[in-house]
Structure formats: C-alpha cells, structure tokens
C-alpha cells in the first residue's frame, strides 16, 4: 500500500446474482487528484463507487480507503469513514422535504454540535462556493437540474471530506451547466485539497478536467492513462469511445442471428 494513494482497489471481483459485473479490477487513486472512471452504460462503474463507499462487499479482492480495508470495517467504523467521504448522486438525491439551506446543513446538524449561527455561516460559505447563496430558501422542486446538482455538490463537501465521489455528474445537463459542474469539480478539488473520483461517460467534459482516466469495459480495465494519452490512444475501444463512433469493439448490433438468415435469404 503506497501512502500516496487514498484509494486502492486490488483484484476486485463482484457480480449481481450470477452475472459478473467486475472481474479482477486493479486501480489506484492518488491523493489530491481527480480521477475519472469511464465506460459505457452498465459496465460496472457505479458498482465501483458502491464498493468504495462500503454499500456492497466484493466477492473477491479488497478495496482500501486511507489504508483501511472497507469490507472488514464494522458498522460503526464504516460510518466513521463515510463521514469523511462526500458523494454526489446522479440526480442529486436532495432531500425533497427540506430547503436548499437545510439540505446543506443536514450533516452538520446530524453529526456536529455546532451552534446554529456557525452552521449558518458554514452553509452560506458552501453555497457561495457553488454560486447559489441566493437560492438558499428554495425547495429542491424549484431548482433546475444544474442547480440541483450544484446544491448536491455543496452538500457533498459540507463536512470537508477527504474523498468526493461523483456518480455521473454530467448526466442530463445543458452545455452551460455541464461546464459549470466540470469547473466546480476541478476547483473544489484543488481548493479543498481533496481527492475526487468521477464516474462518467461524458468524454469531452471529463478529459478536460481530470488528471487520470481508467476505461472500464465488460468488467475489466481496458486502458488507463492521462487524458492526453487517451486522446492519442490507438486502442480500438478507447478510440471508439473518445470519438463516439457507432461501430467498433462495442458493436452497434445486439448479438443475434445472421441478418440474411433472419430474413430467410440464406447467408448474405
């Protein structure tokens, strides 16, 4: 275990029921960096985040966060570790029965004994960082998709975590919000000195902001490197993914019988 890596994933396999999702994954997330995990939909990216957060246990291998093996922690230790993790969910997962302010204040009120005046200042600080100090009294239903994502981001960094995990932070956003979120991820990472893991399939935005990329396909890592290396990569999968080509190692057609045979024409 190197001291420079906040998260290490060693030979991890995981499957739902009998369907394998991850097959022997090895990965290292260095401290202070923004690392992207990319791959097509349903390739097991989100499962990786759930493993790091201790929501599921690997069937083989281990995930280490700050030197601790996640699946060996008991509930109390796991909760203690999670207090130092922030997570941004795909659609924000804001608490719909609370205002923006209360959402960001939630963890401070639950986990600390800070006086309300201090909490107020801290919440305004976090909201200011994402540009939504003025929206503190709105309810989540009154926010646009991009704003909700920013509030969720403020909530994720509420307790100054050491690790922030982003689950598809760019999904379903317009180009402006997308740029804003991308910039925030980078800026928060550098300003707070945290480590970030971004799970995404948005190539263009993420290659601009991350330090390192892992490509996952069908449960294995097919390529990894810096964004520049990935852009230059000659590997067919990476090339197809980065350039968004329709056919390649990931076929356009779902596996089936020969087209001609299906139409009753014999082999075409």
């Amino acid at each position: 275990m190197s001291k420079d890596n906040l998260v290490e994933i060693n030979n991890v396999s995981f499957g739902y029921n009998k369907r394998p999702v991850l097959k022997g994954i090895n990965m290292a997330i260095p401290r202070g960096r923004v690392v992207a995990i990319m791959g097509g939909s349903g390739c097991g990216k989100t499962t990786l985040l759930r493993l790091i957060g201790g929501q599921i246990k690997p069937q083989q291998g281990e995930v280490r966060v700050a030197g601790q093996v996640v699946h060996e922690l008991d509930r109390e230790e796991l909760y203690k570790m999670r207090r130092r993790m922030g997570m941004l969910f795909q659609f924000g997962a804001l608490f719909t029965d609370m205002s923006v302010f209360d959402n960001v204040a939630f963890q401070m009120r639950e986990h600390t004994d800070l006086p309300e005046a201090v909490i107020r200042d801290l919440v305004l600080l976090k909201l200011h960082a994402v540009g939504l100090r003025g929206a503190r009294d709105l309810m989540p239903s009154e926010l646009s998709g991009g704003m909700a994502r920013r509030v969720a981001l403020a909530r994720a960094v509420a307790l100054d975590p050491m690790l922030i995990m982003y689950d598809e932070p760019f999904a379903g956003l317009d180009p402006i919000s997308l740029g804003v979120i991308g910039n925030l991820i980078r800026r928060l990472n550098d300003a707070l000195g945290v480590t970030s893991i971004v799970v995404t399939h948005d190539v263009h935005e993420s290659l601009q902001i991350v330090d390192y990329v892992y490509f996952v396909s069908e449960g294995v890592i097919v390529a990894h490197g810096t964004p520049e290396e990935m852009r230059q990569s000659a590997k067919p999968f990476v090339h197809q993914f980065v350039h968004g080509e329709m056919d390649g190692p990931v076929p356009f057609h779902y596996a089936g019988e020969d087209y001609g045979a299906d139409l009753g024409l014999g082999h075409v």
Binding site: Q55, Y79, F89
Partner: protein, 263 residues
C-alpha cells in the same frame, strides 16, 4: 408429466419460502425500528413534524367521517330502538358503538388510506430518488432518522384521531337524535354517562386504536422501504399498504374484541 408435477410443487415451495422470508424480513425491520427509536424521543421535534403530516393533516377526513357516521347511527339507532320503546337509550347505543368499535376501526381504516399510503409513497420515492442511499452514505442511519419518527408519529396520532372520531360521532348522534328527532336531551346524556364504563369501554377502545396504529404504520413503512425503486414498484407498494393494513385492522379487531368483551 413428472416434470410438470415437480414444477408445480417447486412453485408452491418457492411461494411458501418467499412468504416466510418476507415475514421474517418485515419482523426484522420492525424490531430494528423499535431498537433504533432513541432519536425519535431525544429529538422529539422530528416526531412532532411527522405527527403534523400524518395526524394533523388527517384531522379533516376523520372529523367529517366521524360526524356522518354518528348521524347515521342516530338515525338507524332511533329506528330500531323506538320499536321497543327505548329510544332514550339512543345515547348509550351511539356512544358504545363508537368507543368500542367504530371509532378505532373506521378511523384506522381512514388513517391507512390517508396517512399510510402517503408514508409508503414518500419513503418509496425517497428510495427511488436515492435519498435513502444518500443518507446512508452520509453515515446517517435512515431507519432511525426517517423510519422511526414516522412510526412513533403514527402510534401517537392514531388513538388521538380515534378519540376525536368518537367524540364528533357522539355529537353527530346528538344532532340527529335530540335536535332533529326530539329524543329527550337529559335522558340521552345521563343514560350515556351511566352506561359507558371508562375501563371497559373507553380504555379498551384506546388500546385497540394503539394496536391499529402500530399495525398500519409498521405496514406502511415496511412497504415503502421494501418497494422496488421504480414508479411501478412504488404504486404497487402503496396499494399493498392500503389493502394489507385494512385487512390487518379488521382481523386484529376481531381478536381484540374476542379478548376484551367476552362475557
């Protein structure tokens, strides 16, 4: 042939095992909720907020239904009682029917459809939108923070609502019996006072409504927590809450009545 027979047997076995497994899962959930109730009382504000949502907001439907049920009891009771020349016992009849049976049972059924379905839908949607997972990832236990306060709110609200239902119902019976039909007012109230026993009638009614409160809220919470995180899953769970908890209320009522009012 053999295949089909074993297939059928296996189907029965599966259904039985699934059913038992689900009951076990529900019991475990219920015990966990009880076990993790500390926060609902230490921070009673959380519970008060839920009492507002499930109790206070159910008041209107409870009061209106209570009034109508009481008025109908007045009409029907008078019809029957005057055949035996004992229409002055109308007050007794209305009060006993309401405190012993209709108050707890009807208000529990209304509570199941008004508050129970809302609880299931809310928790189901919190799960579908990952709010429950988000809470877990923030190291906050959703059972103690979300489930337990709603449970205790339901348990506290239910007897109060049932009492309200009975009180308004008695007033409805009075309106129809005394004000409209003209039964003697003094007899109506004094016979009621003489015949209704606090321990036998009112306390038993309260016990019933507490039991119903536990059943309805626990079922609603479990169905919500167990719902598949999809639109379809939540809608099925909401329906199941109303059906299961209504049946549970009626079945429990039979059992409780058999114990309370035997001889």
């Amino acid at each position: 042939m053999f295949e089909r027979m074993t297939g059928g047997l296996r189907g029965i076995g599966h259904t039985a095992i699934d059913g038992v497994w689900r009951i076990g899962y529900a019991s475990r959930f219920f015990l966990l909720t009880l076990f993790k109730s500390g926060i609902s009382f230490r921070r009673f504000g959380l519970t008060i907020k839920e009492i507002y949502f499930s109790g206070v907001l159910s008041l209107i439907i409870i009061v209106v239904s209570g009034l109508f049920v009481g008025m109908v009891l007045g009409l029907q009771g008078y019809e029957t009682l005057q055949k035996y020349g004992s229409e002055q016992a109308l007050g007794v009849m209305v009060a006993l029917t309401l405190t012993r049976e209709l108050g707890p049972v009807v208000s529990a059924l209304l509570f199941a459809s008004r508050a129970g379905s809302a609880i299931t839908a809310e928790i189901g949607l919190m799960k579908a939108t990952e709010q429950i997972t988000a809470m877990e990832m923030m190291a906050i236990d959703p059972i103690s923070r979300v489930v337990a306060p709603r449970f205790w709110a339901g348990v506290i609200s239910m007897p109060l609502l049932a009492a309200m239902f009975s009180a308004v119902g008695v007033f409805g019976g009075y309106l129809v019996g005394v004000v409209m039909i003209g039964v003697d007012e003094g007899a109506f109230w004094s016979q009621m006072q003489a015949a209704v026993d606090f321990r036998q009638d009112i306390l038993n009614g309260i016990i019933k409504s507490v039991v119903f409160g536990v059943a309805v809220t626990a079922i609603a919470l479990f169905e919500g927590y167990d719902a598949p995180p999809t639109a379809e899953g939540v809608s099925h769970a909401t329906t199941r809450t109303v059906v299961t908890s209504s049946l549970a209320v009626l079945a429990l009522d039979l059992v409780l009545t058999a114990f309370m009012f035997r001889g």
